[in-house]
Structure formats: C-alpha cells, structure tokens
C-alpha cells in the first residue's frame, strides 16, 4: 500500500493551562503562564524549590463513576479525559472495523507515581505492612493506553512508549506511521503524566535542574525547568477518509524523525537533535525553508537551550533567522512524558489559527541563544508547516512535522 496522508481530526487536552481544549487554547493564544507555588502535595517543606505547573480544578468524580477513579492513577485519568474529548471533537463514529483495528499509542515517562508512592507510605511510614491491592495496575506505565482501550472500546494494537521527555513524540510518531502505512484505520495517540509526589520532586531536586523561580527558555537569566503535568490526545485518520466523511481537519501530520545521541545520560548533544529534525523534514518531503514555526524542546536549563539553538541553526542554515521558535514549557511547564503531546496540540492550533504562542518569562537575550523566540507576546502569523521537538534524558530525540491543510 502506498503511504497515505494522515489527518488530525480530534484534539483533547487537560493541562495546567486548562481542563479542556478551549481553555488550553485561550491560555496559549494569550501567553498566560500557569506556573506558581505548588499545592496539595505532602511534605513540600522538604523541597528547595516551590514552583511548578499543576492541573488545577480537576475533579475526578466529574469523569468517573462508581468509585472507578480510585482504581486509576491520576496520570491514566488524564489520558482517558483527553482521549474522550479528542474522540468527541473528531465527530468520528466508530465502526466495528475501526473498533477492531483502531490503534492506541501513548507516552508516559514515569507512569503511576502517586500509586507507587502511596504504597511506600503505607509500607514504611505508616507501618501498615500492606499496600492497596491495585497498586500494580495503577502504577504500570501502560495503564493510560489500557484504560483508553477499555473506555472507548478500541481493540487494535495498544501500547505505551516510555522514553522520558520524548515519550509522547515517540508515541505520536509511531501512531502516525501506523495510519500512514495502512496498519490502522484510526489511532488515538498522545501522552500523559502526573508525577507530583514528594519522592519524585526530591529526585528532581537532586538533579539540580529545577528553577527556583520560573521557566525562562532561551533567556540569559534562565535557571532551569519547571515541572508540569497533564494529558493530551489526538485522533489520527487517513486524510482521504477524513475528507470523505466531511471531518474537520486541524492539520496534516506529515513526518517523524528519531535519533539517539550515543553521548551522555543527561547532557544534550547537537547532532542527535539536528539529525532528528532533518529526518522529520525528509519524511514529510518538506524543504527547510517551508518551516515557519518550531515548538522547541526549550526546557529553560542552561544546557538544553544553546544546544537546541545550535541544532536548529545546523538544520536550517540562513533560514534559521526567519523562523519563529517558541517554548510553551514557559506556559505549561515540562510535563515529561506528556510534554510532546501538550506541545503538539500547541503547534497544531498555532498552524490552524495563525497565532504563534510565545516564550513567556523571557527577559534577556543570550548570545548563545540567538533565534527569534517569540518573546512574551503571542504573534499573529500564518505559517504553512511546523516542527515540534522533544529531546530526552538518555539522548533520545523525537521530532514531529505538521502542515496546514
């Protein structure tokens, strides 16, 4: 079968920027950060840093009945909430064939952290000597994909990709290729993460990469990343089928590139990200000059931002000066295994609406970060194609390409 064009026909998201797609777009288009002091986490006084981007106002009881929410970790709840919204948004009526062949590919870096940490609390701090009987199925990283399968009644291939901060982009890329190559007639794909437990936060603190104030990607005074959480899913269909049913098509997902650095566990290298961007362009059949916007990995750490800037210059040459590059992590924080999914939605909506979300909290140019980062204010600009970058600890890089339809 010849490769098919792949349409994005439905979006769903719950993030620090809002509890649904409309709220998220409103925050993105206004460049309104959702970073502030952490709440509702035990033992916060043990931490050196106090700020993060948390999902606020989420009530599981509005989404789950009969006590089901107690059986599903927060990260998997986010994946279900986002998948339901995406499917509804797509208007897709699932046929028996689609139910049998529909694919689900999710990303998550750390799975059900709340569940496993509650188990440790029960065992060692409370001295109960036993843990909740569903600790294992709540903790497993594939819980998001499994619950979406059961919730939507999809019984085709379903799995979770776990590649740290690139998880969602790897997942989206895999789902894209399955639909493109005829292995699936529709796919639900994205990522979810909910890692705000004191154990995880202490572990991040020990890595010394968290900013004490806020996330300032590419700004000279940046001091690190801000952790986030959330879930985002999209519905992929063959373009011809989507058009035939008169579906709203947000954008085409047209290319995917993945590489590894073979370099260092935590320090980024330029060539891996550069080759991943080139791979996504090659697969999309896009010339570098056709790209108008890049949603950067842009963590706001001293290490990432200059290396990503150099990689973009390596790929785009002189055209790098004409590109708009922004990091929406400055708005919604770094959602780890969900980051690529949150950022894919930001990229797709930027393409569709002709508004580029900004890099918020930007104060000061850095000679090592010398691109147009759309500082602080959203920009009305219609671009025809865009990339979304994710680069993970362990040197695993995943880049997705999108274009307007």
């Amino acid at each position: 079968m010849a490769p098919r064009k792949v349409a994005i026909t439905g979006l769903g998201i719950i993030s620090p920027l809002g509890l649904n797609l409309a709220e998220n777009w409103e925050s993105l288009r206004e460049g309104r950060p959702a970073i502030g002091p952490m709440k509702d986490i035990n033992d916060l006084e043990l931490l050196r840093f106090q700020n993060a981007a948390q999902v606020r106002g989420y009530d599981p009881l509005k989404h789950f009945e009969g006590g089901k929410e107690a059986y599903i970790d927060r990260f998997a709840q986010f994946s279900i909430v986002a998948a339901r919204e995406a499917l509804k948004d797509s208007g897709l009526e699932l046929t028996p064939e689609m139910r049998e062949q529909g694919a689900i590919v999710c990303g998550s870096a750390v799975g059900g952290q709340s569940a496993i940490e509650m188990g440790f609390e029960d065992l060692w701090r409370s001295g109960r000597g036993r843990v909740h009987p569903l600790t294992i199925p709540k903790t497993m990283a594939n819980a998001g994909a499994s619950h979406i399968s059961m919730d939507l009644g999809l019984s085709g291939p379903a799995y979770t990709v776990s590649t740290a901060c690139s998880s969602a982009n790897h997942a989206i890329g895999q789902a894209f290729r399955m639909v493109r190559d005829g292995q699936a007639e529709m796919a639900v794909t994205g990522g979810s993460e909910a890692m705000f437990t004191i154990g995880m936060l202490k572990a991040w603190e020990a890595m010394r990469v968290i900013a004490p104030d806020t996330c300032r990607p590419f700004s000279k005074d940046r001091r690190g990343m801000i952790l986030g959480e959330g879930g985002a899913m999209m519905i992929l269909e063959p373009m011809d089928a989507a058009k035939a049913r008169g579906a709203k098509v947000y954008a085409e997902i047209c290319g995917f590139g993945m590489t590894s650095d073979a370099h260092h566990l935590t320090q980024p290298a330029m060539h891996g990200p550069s080759r991943a961007m080139k791979g996504a362009l090659r697969e999309a059949g896009l010339a570098p000059e056709e790209i108008g916007y890049i949603n950067a990995h842009g963590t706001g750490t001293p290490g990432n931002d200059p290396v990503e800037t150099a990689a973009i210059r390596d790929v785009f040459g002189a055209h790098a000066n004409s590109l708009a590059v922004s990091s929406t992590k400055s708005l919604h924080g770094h959602a780890l295994g969900a980051a690529g999914a949150l950022e894919a939605i930001a990229t797709i909506l930027a393409l569709r609406n002709g508004i580029l979300p900004p890099t918020a909290n930007y104060n000061e140019p850095d000679p090592e970060c010398d691109l147009d980062y759309v500082p602080n204010k959203p920009r009305a600009k219609q671009v025809s194609a865009a990339l979304s970058n994710s680069f993970a600890f362990g040197g695993l890089n995943a880049v997705v390409a999108f274009r307007t339809v």
Partner: protein, 97 residues
C-alpha cells in the same frame, strides 16, 4: 596539610570516583579527575549527607577546583544552625510567578 573538612571532601571525591585520595589536592581541577555532571550530582549528594547540609543549586555553578567545594562547605557550615535537619530548605521559597 588539609584540614578536617578538606580531608572529608577529598575522601568523598575519591570514593565517588573510585580513585586514590592521595592524588587529589586542594588545587586539583575537577575536570582533571574526569568528573562529569553526573559525578558532580552524586558528589554533592554524598557531601550533603556527610556534612548534614543542603547545598543550594546556585552555589554549584562556580565550582572548578576541590578547594571551591571545601570553601563552599565551610561557609555553609558556618551559616548553619547547630543541628540542622538534613533536608532543610537552603533558601526561602521563591516568589509566586
């Protein structure tokens, strides 16, 4: 002659990097010992445990030599209360943003 703090820092460094302590001097540059960023995280973690202090992230960026670590720890020890909790926050909470 290295003082107690210096001796403890050198012993910790030697243990983390699995190298003989007698090759480590106060003016030794960490790069000369093949210390990379992962070693630094691990070293700081061990030193926080050994001295019962909390080392702020901002103090870490200027570390180049063994003596930079020793001096930094001495300052933290001088500023610390007599019996600090092992995980006391090193700085006040950041302002809301």
């Amino acid at each position: 002659m290295a003082d107690d703090v210096a001796q403890k820092v050198i012993a910790t460094l030697a243990s983390v990097k699995r190298i003989p302590a007698d090759g480590i001097k106060l003016d030794t540059n960490l790069q000369e010992l093949g210390i990379d960023s992962l070693d630094v995280f691990t070293l700081l973690f061990e030193l926080e445990n050994a001295f019962k202090i909390s080392i702020p992230d901002d103090d870490v960026r200027s570390i180049r030599t063994v003596n930079d670590i020793v001096e930094g720890i001495k300052k933290l020890l001088a500023a610390a209360p007599a019996t600090p909790p092992p995980d006391a926050p090193a700085s006040p909470a950041a302002p809301a943003v």
